[in-house]
Structure formats: C-alpha cells, structure tokens
Symmetry: C2
Subunit: 184 residues, 2 copies
C-alpha cells in the first residue's frame, strides 16, 4: 500500500503508538490501514459414494482438480458464500451443507472454511471457472493432480471419516514444505 | 476507497468484466481492489467450573464483559491469533486450545473463530484492553452486561455442552435484530 485509500497521500510503514506491528499509516491524514488475512469458503459436495471435483480453468494451478471454493464476499455468511461458490464453479446445488473443516494457511494469510453437503441431483456442468466437473469414486481420485495441499487433506479426511460414519468438524494448519499423505 | 493504494489515482465503483459485484477499480492503473470480510479470533478460557471474562477497556461496548478476541493478523494461524489475543487481553495462557465455534456476522462482514481451552493456572490480570479480568461460575455470569450477542451464544452453548460433557464444534449466524436467549 503506497497511497492512502482515504486521501491519496503517501503512506509509511510504522508501528503505531500502543501497537507492536508495522502498519501502513497515512503521512497526511494519519489513518492506520490494517491488513488482515482473507477467508476462502467452499464445499465438499458428495453424491452417494462419490465426491464432486472441478478442474480449474484459471490460474493458479490451471488444469488441476479442486473443490469448489472462492473468496468470501462482503455481507454474506460463510455458508452463503460456500453455496454461491459451488453454484458458480460447478452449477451444482447442495442440500443443507454443514460446517466440516477449517484450513489455516498462515504463509499466505488465508483461512479456508469448508462445508460438506449432498448434491440435490446430478445437475452440474463445466463453467467459466471449471474446464470439467465430475463425480469421483474414492479409488479414482486423481491424487497427483490435485490443485492444492488442502484439497488432499480434505478428501483424505473425508474418506477416513466416511469409514467411521462420523464427520467431526476439524481444523488443520497447512505448512510448507508440504508432505503428501497419499503420494510417495 | 477513494484512491488507489497502488498508484494514488482516483478509483471508481464498477462491475468488472466477468464479475457480478461492484468493485473499486482504479481509473488510471485499472487495478481491481477487492474487499473481503475480516476474521476475528478468540478463546473461551475455562478453569475448572469457571470461565474467564474480561471487562472491555475500550470502545465499542466499553465496560461490558467479553471473551478475549481480536482481529486475526497477517501470517498467523487462527490458533496462534487466538492465543495471542488471550494473552494480550487477559495475561492468561491456555493449554492446547481446540476449535469450538464459528460465528458469522454478515451484516458487519465479520467471521469469529473461537477456540476453547483450560487455563494453565490462575495467572491473569487487567490489561490495557481490559478494565477487569475474572473467573465466573455459571450462576454469576452477567448476562445483561455482555458486550456482544455472540458472547451470550458462546457462553450459553458452552454451559449446555458442559451438561452433556460433549463440545462439538458449531457454527451460528448472528442476525439483527438479536433475540437474547437468556434475557426476557
């Protein structure tokens, strides 16, 4: 942040009085501009024994498989955002999604909030954001072609939880370097 | 956002191509400046049968009781942030806090991520942010003097869960107008 979004003057990095972190502070109007992590909201959509994945049409990780998710928008709940992203990226609707996972990714200052929910029906399709959208059985999951570590963690956990028929909400921190659980 | 933080030129509100929401877009460098909800991280600290509350030293709701919580900082996990806020606001340390609740407050574009954890010991004290810090038994909770609806929900749920000796992670949306569960 080089310029103050409020008055357009130059900002400087300094630790405000009573604070202990560097902040962007306007040299003219003295406004402190805090920066905070972003949250990403998404869904793990299921259909009977299968899960719905989408192949990313955009960078980063174009062509790799992911779960529908995206940045949380202003004035929506995390659930509303997750349902919206699922619809936008796959065309699919899910029934009564419930909270399932939080992924902390502090290196990139992001928090993922994931729900899981059963598809209302098999109505889904490729979209501007997804080259392909399809259901996978566990044995067909393309583990080596997943877009992000947290997608592997979410799926790995889901299949494990399914074996126990119990899906407690969990939180996991994704740290780099990442060590895959499914790939040698 | 009146001015572009990157180049200092004027911004305008418009719906970018391929988008469906108004965004601040720079008239000169065309950068799109997205705005997203903020996350707040906190802890419900317990000590045997009691919970730790702090009386707010600052606005909003100065003088009302709350749980230690504050804005999630860049490059920290939600857990690290919750532990930090607990320490900053009460001087207390908790043992192995675990995820407990997410509160969605879409009207103010905030998401609260709460942990719960047992205090290491009874070392806590008033701080710059807390006029008073003390342990309360359930029957002494000042329900009419709580700072925010979500504090009531968290405590109400905690005492209910304690009765069942089971503390599943839950999510709740706080909508206004707020209807208290504990006050007529």
């Amino acid at each position: 942040m080089k310029f103050c979004p409020d008055c357009g003057a130059n900002t400087k990095l300094e630790i405000p009085k009573g604070d202990n972190r560097l902040r962007f502070v306007c040299e003219k109007c003295s406004k402190i501009h805090y920066q905070n992590p972003k949250s990403v909201v998404g869904i793990l959509p299921t259909y009977q024994d299968q899960v719905l994945l989408c192949k990313r049409a955009i960078q980063p990780r174009q062509g790799f498989w992911t779960l529908p998710a995206g940045f949380h928008e202003m004035e929506e709940s995390t659930l509303e955002g997750a349902i919206r992203e699922c619809k936008e990226e796959t065309g699919a609707s899910v029934m009564d999604p419930t909270l399932y996972a939080i992924f902390d990714i502090p290196q990139i200052s992001q928090v993922y909030i994931f729900f899981k929910g059963e598809l209302k029906n098999k109505a889904f399709h490729a979209t501007e954001e997804s080259l392909e959208v399809r259901l996978f059985n566990e044995e067909d999951i393309p583990w080596s072609e997943l877009a992000f570590p947290m997608i592997e963690v979410a799926l790995d956990r889901y299949f494990s939880d399914r074996g126990n028929n119990n899906f407690p909400v969990f939180r996991e921190e994704i740290r780099r370097p990442w060590k895959s659980r499914r790939l040698a």
